[in-house]
């Protein structure tokens, strides 16, 4: 985790000695101040590993916070829109949180060890916000980003790989479940979570164990089509799964320069996570209640199935009168489904009441000229890809 340099520079993760060795292309990316591979060899093959075998991704740069104290449970319930009062120990929940204006700050996952101990994982730094929000609660916060090494092990053979690594009976772990394992002489927390929409796990351990964990898992997956997996491939899998990405599909409310660009949960397809009937107050509840009552949400985030095979990256979306009704936030040709898919932020009533005659204007680059394509779009479920194996218990094994 330390740098050779004495001045501040991008940090290296505890897996860096391994990820840099695995990189054939030397393509890196700055993720939350860390150097991580964009691509190891070929994005297509890395993507394939996540849909066919086992993909391994260094997740360490994700923001991770420990929330402890006798009020931890009450605090977490206050922070997020979702009602977590029934959440069981040793489970994980997908969450979003808002500012007081009811605008989404970020999404993430919350790991519950007990009523007095949680771990929060997210994309945008929130340490300061936690302290501000935590006033009056008996709770402490610890930024565990640098002190927890994390790997995502995802794909149809991932359970078999991790069983070979030493995670006995892992196939019985339910989706959004988590369990402590003692492997190779150290503690590893394994959760059945991930950002690929497939069968998959995330592993959390002390940085001192990182290199051994990487090496052992690579060995464990040798016959199970294991491959390190970079950010580019992750972007493909998360679009297919219909997962939203902060500052890509919506702007983090507290970082947004132009207030009109902030989005409420209802405007990014996250209305299902706003539990207004939750007994206690949560940040943004009043504003969200008002928005719900008035029905004045302005935008919506939808899935698009687009004609043709040219990805609608950055496309403007139009109605049949050629009026601008929104923008594509993420787009790709899905290699698994052989479909041209996109996530788009539309101006209501488009996408909610009006779903017909919607078009994307695609500019496809062809040797220094653009081919302009007017492609018809169908509004579909945002979760494009969700195989049965994703939630199967016991998980699929390859033996």
């Amino acid at each position: 985790m330390t740098n050779d340099l004495r001045f501040t520079a991008l940090k290296k993760t505890p897996f860096h000695s391994r990820t840099s060795l695995a990189s054939r292309t030397n393509k890196y990316y700055n993720w939350n101040g860390f150097t991580v591979p964009t691509e190891y060899s070929t994005t297509e093959l890395e993507y394939t590993a996540a849909r066919n075998g086992t993909s391994v991704m260094d997740l360490t740069p994700m923001c991770k916070y420990m929330i402890k104290g006798s009020d931890a449970n009450r605090f977490v319930d206050y922070l997020v829109t979702r009602d977590l009062s029934q959440m069981e120990d040793n489970t994980v929940a997908y969450i979003i949180w808002c500012n007081e204006d009811g605008k989404v700050m970020d999404d993430g996952t919350i790991f519950k060890f007990s009523d007095s101990k949680f771990m929060l994982c997210c994309a945008v730094k929130i340490y300061n916000w936690l302290h501000d929000s935590g006033e009056g609660f008996n709770v402490t916060f610890e930024d565990a980003t640098d002190t927890t090494a994390a790997l995502a092990i995802q794909g149809p053979t991932s359970c078999s790989t991790l069983k070979n690594f030493g995670a006995d009976e892992l196939e019985l772990l339910k989706p959004f479940g988590m369990k402590e394992f003692h492997i190779n002489g150290y503690e590893v927390l394994i959760s059945r979570t991930g950002f690929t929409g497939d069968l998959g796990y995330e592993l959390w351990t002390d940085p001192a164990n990182a290199e051994n964990m990487w090496d052992s898992i690579m060995e464990a997956g040798k016959e199970l089509k294991i491959r390190p997996f970079g950010m580019n491939a992750l972007e493909m899998t998360r679009i297919e799964a219909g997962f939203i990405q902060t500052n890509t599909d919506f702007m983090a409310a507290e970082d947004t320069l132009r207030p009109v660009r902030m989005r409420s949960p209802y405007e990014i397809g996250m209305g299902w996570m706003v539990h207004l009937n939750k007994e206690s107050y949560f940040v943004g509840k009043q504003a969200l209640k008002k928005e719900k009552e008035k029905g004045n949400s302005e935008r919506c985030l939808v899935g698009l199935d687009i004609d043709g095979d040219k990805p609608a990256v950055g496309s403007v979306i139009y109605n049949e009168k050629k009026e601008d009704i929104g923008i594509v936030t993420a787009a790709m040709w899905s290699p698994t489904m052989k479909r041209n898919v996109a996530l788009a932020s539309l101006r209501r009533p488009y996408g909610i009441k009006i779903k017909e005659n919607i078009f994307a204007e695609i500019y496809h680059p062809e040797e220094l000229e653009y081919k302009k394509i007017w492609a018809k779009c169908k509004i579909v479920k945002r979760q494009f890809f969700s195989p049965e194996r994703r939630n199967k218990v016991p998980a699929d094994l390859y033996e």
Partner: protein, 542 residues
């Protein structure tokens, strides 16, 4: 009797028959597919002949299957997934190797080890072949126009065809030079074509392989360059010319198609061999099966090759004499064999460094075009090649579903193997002798290969004919030469999927655009049937 009446009967549950059937069922028709084997899939099958190992018994890799078809028929939903290749390699007797990779620049670096000039020529070659792929791509989906007809459909069709040939829309219009290049490409031998770009034997030999796979042409035969194009014009997710494995073997393709067909109310009846097309007053009205059942339908679509369709299951007397003559003369010569091998572990190929992605896809050991031509010379004499060209791959290296972890399935495609074996033809003993010969050839490059073999299946053109139903074992259901392509396929005047019999259609690879697990003949034929029934077509393909 009433329950044996359908809108459409498709004869043969190969990938084209199932594609046609699925499109027609999606359009609302009641479709029945009759298949002679107990299993479904024709030449796109996955069978477990040895417990624990799945074999792609016939076709073994996928590139040509049109993505629009996969999308329209939602094959993903029914279990189809394509896994791209990592690379390919040719092993050399001096212990060296030649490799291609998924990454273009890695390929350039690799070729440069053999010839600096070839590495740069490869850029020019790739551009020229890609240009030909772009020209041919839109043609694949079209029904070839009848050039002798004055019907508006054919006149417009001919114009459309010519437009694509000049590729005005895709490539911004080709000059005279490029049109000449196209015509030369379609008629040249692969040796002459490659000689215009490359100097090193190994580069040429590696590239020429695609021009001889499945064909009864040699690398020096005019027309072989087109066969290369036929193998390059596919894609894996926009990567033109790339190949991949179908997860779970090639049977996953036809299984997924069957899933789509069933979801739309269609049915496949295996173990029901059609032995006769029932005709009445020049119309096809039904079929009779070996079991003695009769099935009637408004439209009959044959997925059998043109020879089987018209020389075996249709009364000759119901067809025009000239047509029958043309069908008899249709070239459909078997030239390939195959070994499917269950391995107890991963064989070593010392020529290819461990972990090199070049060894992740197809592997070969033919070092010169002359060797390839020599292999062809053996075939001409009615013998299997003593020094054959092989296209071998180990799908289980990429696909975790073919065998248990640590175990491997190897597919070895062999060129050339004759249908009519000299000196008495094929029998069990000679088939096994052929199998042993191939195992010996591979062992030269892999010291532990023989020790790892648990079981292998030997396929000669005779099995492909008898079991799969490919006449003479020709994998393309008819030679891919200019005299049998586009508006000449299968025979002039009948390139539009219709036949001399009213209400009878063809959808096999004997029709345009030809062989390979492409689905285009099936989708094109379905379009013509639907057109004749005035049923609107929808989807990304049309």
């Amino acid at each position: 009797m009433a329950k044996n009446t359908h809108d459409v009967i498709v004869i043969g549950a190969g990938h084209n028959g199932l594609t046609a059937a699925s499109y027609m069922a999606k359009a609302g028709l009641d479709v029945l597919v009759l298949e002679k084997n107990e299993w479904i899939g024709g030449a796109a099958v996955s069978r477990e002949l040895y417990p624990g190992w799945k074999y792609s018994n016939c076709s073994y890799v996928c590139s040509l299957l049109r993505p629009e078809i996969m999308r329209d028929l939602e094959l993903y939903k029914y279990g189809l997934q394509i896994i791209p290749y990592e690379g390919s390699a040719t092993m050399m007797r001096n212990g060296d190797y030649y490799a291609h990779y998924h990454d273009h620049d890695m390929t350039i670096n690799s070729i440069r080890r053999h010839s600096h000039k070839d590495a740069e020529a490869y850029e020019r070659y790739s551009r020229d072949v890609l240009r030909q792929c772009k020209i041919i791509k839109p043609l694949l989906k079209m029904t070839p126009p009848d050039l002798t007809s004055f019907k508006p459909k054919d006149l417009f069709g001919a114009l459309e065809f010519a437009k694509h040939f000049a590729a005005k829309d895709e490539l911004g219009g080709l000059g005279e030079k490029e049109i000449y290049d196209t015509i030369r490409f379609y008629t040249m031998s692969i040796r002459d074509y490659l000689d215009e770009y490359f100097e090193s034997d190994i580069t040429k030999a590696h590239l020429a392989g695609s021009a001889i796979i499945g064909t009864a042409l040699g690398p020096c035969s005019p027309g072989s360059a087109y066969v290369l194009l036929h193998h390059y014009m596919g894609e894996v997710d926009g990567s033109v010319g790339a190949w991949g494995y179908s997860r779970g073997g090639m049977g996953s393709i036809t299984k997924a198609m069957t899933g789509c067909l069933n979801a739309h109310g269609g049915e496949v009846k295996p173990d029901n061999e059609v032995v006769n097309v029932i005709t009445k007053n020049g119309r096809a009205i039904g079929v009779a099966t070996k079991k003695g059942d009769e099935y009637y339908a408004k439209k009959i679509v044959s997925n059998l090759d043109v020879k089987r369709t018209f020389l075996k299951i249709t009364e000759e007397s119901s067809l025009p004499g000239e047509f029958v003559e043309r069908v008899k003369n249709f070239k459909i010569r078997g030239s390939s064999g195959k070994l499917n091998i269950a391995l107890d572990g991963l064989p070593d190929f010392p020529c290819i460094p461990e972990g090199d992605p070049g060894g992740g896809g197809d592997m070969h050991f033919t070092e010169t075009i002359e060797e390839m031509e020599g292999a062809y010379d053996d075939w001409k004499r009615g013998e299997w090649s003593r020094n054959p060209y092989v296209d071998m791959c180990i799908p289980s290296k990429s696909d975790p579903t073919m065998a248990a972890p640590g175990k491997h399935y190897m597919s070895v495609f062999i060129q050339y193997v004759p249908f009519n074996l000299a000196n008495g033809g094929w029998n069990e003993e000679r088939k096994q002798e052929f199998g042993r010969h191939i195992v010996d050839c591979i062992s030269e490059f892999s010291p532990n290969f023989k020790d790892l073999i648990n079981h292998y299946e030997v396929r000669t053109p005779l099995e492909l004919d008898n079991e799969v139903g490919l006449t003479e074992g020709n994998i393309f259901q008819g030679e891919l030469t200019m005299d049998q392509l586009m508006f000449n396929r299968p025979v002039p005047g009948y390139a539009q999927y219709r036949t001399p019999l009213k209400n009878m259609y063809m959808c096999s690879s004997s029709t345009h655009p030809g062989g390979g697990v492409m689905g285009a003949p099936g989708a094109n034929a379905a379009r013509e049937v639907l057109l004749d029934m005035n049923i609107p077509q929808t989807g990304n393909y049309y």
